[in-house]
Symmetry: C2
Subunit: 146 residues, 2 copies
DNA sequence: TACAATATAATTGTGCACAATTGATTGTCA
DNA sequence: TGACAATCAATTGTGCACAATTATATTGTA
């Protein structure tokens, strides 16, 4: 018995997305390994380089990750001396995440990463911006329509 | 000090992709949970419903997953009585994965899943097909250019 | 001021991903 | 035939994701 078209793997947008996401993460790995970073850790640094000292909550809002993911990830980054975690004196519930000198210094080395990735992707900047927007819209549609 | 544009989180195609992929997986969860499936397990079934009895290797080629991921996943599916794993008599290195009656029967229930997802996505079929193709191309560019 | 409700991060438990290694089997070729 | 390479799945170890729960601190309110 033949599979109906809707159940065929090669028709699944979800599978294409899942594969593309893993392929991109793999593409980052050799660029980030020399910096001692994983891809999610790199994302955390992107946030911190924009604005240092967010709470775990704020970081999670930016990255759409919860404390169950972030807490152990940040602890590993703390062990690697990239960030420091400290309770907020004003509100002891809050843990603030700050860059160390090492963490700040890493930004210069990371500057070459986006260029290298964009080269691997091999598409024009405009195409990428459009694709990015489509993905953002799709994500929002799923999140809001829940 | 301001982050250069290339390092800003909201410019990263990779981050949009990573988020979209996770959002889609989350969207599947409530549809698959009643069937007792996770999203990767659902992908395995999509392959088996198309062609039953592939080796772990062939399954991995379809899904771009290695035995390190598939072996434990398939063992869980075997515990759930959805598939059976058996060494090939011709070549004892090969393990073949076959649907059980339960696994085959699940296809009828899963038939409603693509429709429900497509509804959540809320875009036209044509747009989805185009986006899917762009993602496939992007994935291939990364895989081949390695 | 008690005390319930809320907010925040951490913890627990499950299930992927993936690199690297291991073990068993098969193929090859001198 | 007998080493040796290649193939395939399983294993080991690390690091996410995420649901559900827990612990602690703060806020709102009767």
């Amino acid at each position: 018995m033949q599979s109906p078209p809707q159940l065929r793997l090669d028709r699944q947008i979800c599978f294409a997305l899942y594969n593309a996401s893993r392929a991109v993460t793999l593409a980052y790995a050799p660029l980030l390994a020399p910096l001692g970073l994983t891809y999610p850790q790199y994302l955390v640094l992107l946030v911190l380089w924009e604005e240092d000292g967010p709470s775990v909550k704020e970081l999670g809002a930016r990255l759409e990750l919860d404390s169950g993911t972030l807490t152990p990830l940040l602890k590993r980054m703390e062990s690697a001396r990239l960030v420091a975690r400290r309770r907020d004196a004003e509100d002891e519930r809050v843990v603030r995440v700050r860059l160390t000198a090492d963490g700040r210094a890493l930004r210069a080395k990371a500057a070459a990463v986006p260029e290298a990735i964009s080269c691997k992707l091999g598409t024009t900047r405009g195409d990428m911006a459009r694709l990015r927007q489509e993905l953002v819209d799709l994500t929002r549609a799923l999140r809001d329509g829940r």
